[in-house]
Symmetry: C2
Subunit: 373 residues, 2 copies
């Protein structure tokens, strides 16, 4: 078939994940692909038609809730972290009905919060970080006023994989009587499976909502994001009526909504179980350690000791290194404060990938003819 051949040609221009150390997405787990294929024609936007898929979504939400210490959490599977963050802030805003609403987020918050500020007409105030790039609770507190509809903490920052002091943020949320959203798009399926667990989820009383993306470390197919709320009140604040559908109302941001991510996320979590997820997470952490050592041997210094499977290395030549690697079809990313290259060690980053990457970066360093720092 001519068209499929044409599509293959486009697909071939994509960089394979075996050369990607700069994305929070990964090759879906084989069971995710199988599950996905079974649900290709499903549409959760019409739950009266796709009754089984809808039931499965409820089971997945419960499963995610269990992982995050609140099996009765209410939520749904969405397009990803951005939608989840939008919906959390929108719910907080709608519940408070403040005149000129604001939210307080860490300076390290994902750029989706800038989108959210614009979208929802909410002022986004950015709190300072400590020297380990965690948000400073005192700074958060100083930015709260009568018009603050919510505060945000991050469990797995996009840049460094750092975890904010959610326990302290939770106390602040309770003290001021405002909602706390935890953006655990990345960390939500990493932290629960680590040996050293930091409290970050519904276990903390002040946490009202959590973003957790199965299409990141959950190895589900895209799109499979998750937004979980402590109770249904938050979903109700998002509700619009839906004539001509099999449901009466809808609290999702999108209307038509694929069931593929629900099926693939559920399949992975059930197939691997807590233990299997733990093995994969720990392997990623081990690989991160290997990368760190290899990079240190080349003279690089990490920005912080990696907390999870993300590691950044200081260098004035970050952009140059990224570009040179890109010319060779290797993908990494950079951060700007401090200037550093950023590596995300997802499940597809095996020892072989690392060894190929290290030899490539050695070549690049020769070419740009500078020491890392």
């Amino acid at each position: 078939m001519d068209i499929l051949k044409e599509l293959e040609e486009f697909r071939r221009k994509d960089i394979p994940y075996s050369r990607v150390l700069g994305s929070m997405c990964t090759v879906p787990h084989p069971i995710a692909i199988k599950a996905h294929k079974m649900f290709i024609e499903t549409n959760l936007g019409d739950p009266g038609i796709f009754r089984g898929t809808r039931e499965l979504e409820e089971k997945l939400v419960k499963l995610l809730g269990e992982i995050l210490h609140h099996p009765n959490a209410k939520g749904y599977v969405c397009s990803g972290g951005t939608e989840a963050n939008i919906q959390a802030i929108r719910s907080f805003r709608n519940l408070r009905r403040s005149d000129k609403p604001n939210i307080v987020v860490p300076k390290s918050a994902h750029f989706s919060f800038d989108k959210i500020g614009d979208l929802l007409c909410v002022e986004v105030r950015k709190a300072e970080l400590d020297e380990e790039y965690r948000v400073d609770p005192a700074s958060v507190e100083s930015l709260i006023d009568d018009r603050t509809v919510g505060i945000v903490g991050i469990a797995g920052t996009t840049e460094l994989g750092q975890v904010d002091p959610i326990e302290e943020l939770s106390k602040i949320a309770i003290e001021y009587g405002i909602d706390l959203h935890v953006d655990a798009a990345f960390g939500g399926l990493v932290i629960p499976f680590m040996d050293k667990i930091t409290k970050f989820d519904f276990e903390l009383e002040g946490v009202s909502s959590i973003t957790v993306d199965p299409h990141k470390m959950g190895m589900a197919t895209i799109p499979a994001g998750g937004i979980l709320f402590r109770d249904e009140r938050y979903l109700k604040a998002l509700e619009v009526m839906t004539p001509y559908l099999t449901s009466r109302s809808q609290w999702t941001l999108t209307g038509t909504r694929p069931g593929t991510g629900v099926a693939s996320a559920y399949a992975v979590l059930r197939y691997l179980g807590f233990e299997g997820m733990g093995k994969i997470v720990k392997r990623c952490l081990r690989m991160t350690e290997i990368v760190k050592e290899e990079m240190e041997a080349l003279g690089f210094e990490p920005v912080i000791e990696p907390i999870m499977n993300i590691v950044c290395f200081k260098t004035e030549h970050a952009e140059k290194i990224k570009e040179e690697l890109m010319k060779r079809d290797w993908i990494i990313s950079t951060i700007s404060n401090p200037k550093a290259i950023r590596l995300v060690i997802m499940p597809h980053v095996t020892e072989e990938v690392i060894s190929n990457f290290i030899s490539e970066i050695k070549d690049v360093l020769k070419i740009i003819d500078v020491r890392p720092q």
Copy 2:
């Protein structure tokens, strides 16, 4: 594999499309499924990694632009009609920076505009319809004021498949110097392939943006929505900066974004071509005519003569009929003004489906023991 069996059980509870006459989605075209499978792991949120998929998206946008009389339209493939409508109104709002912005939409507008009002802090003013359920341009005009950031017309209303007088709305938009968005989520891939073509797209000078969903009549896999703008200025108004990605900025609403819909939509349009699409659209219109005649034979009267492949029949017992059919695993929908049952005759609605449906509805009518009106 146990988990896949479990998933199959859930999937079996879904109603098959052969019993669905109440959805604007349909069974994806076989070529769409094939294309989809090739792109399962792609992520358009990181276009530097998925370079080929990104190129394909550009080709699809161009193709949609060609169908809508503007090959140079700028846009992207999104999660569906709701995101597309959000982005159009958000762009209009951002370009105008009005203090208390409002938009004017037809009373027949999709419920996503209520979501949009809430989301974007924009007042949604609803214009009256004429007796054929098209928006009344005089009513639209009367609702415009200094704070109006845009007006909306619909090409294929969700309830009746009616087409607003976009030509007149275009004149109003030009006269008042405001933007006109056309929600052609459904009609955008129907009207261009009909014998009697109404002007509704970029051919009309006042049209600034169009929603067109390949996952509806384009028979692509979900999610495959489309938002097209007349020029890049509108996209720029949506831009946020994106550190740590392979791109510098992003104008999409979501971050991570599957390439599957791009591939499947492109495959269908290229595989069928203009002629092939025309054949399918015309078959749907023919089937709609058959349904209409069969229903008229049962004593039903259509709310309006069907414009495209949607037809509604007046009855006080609409809800009851829908419920009784639902008990028998048949899905239709209803509208409330006037009270009517609503049938959408998508490509999966064959003569066999119609004949099964008609015999089922005959049984239902016996049970509820009333005449349709």
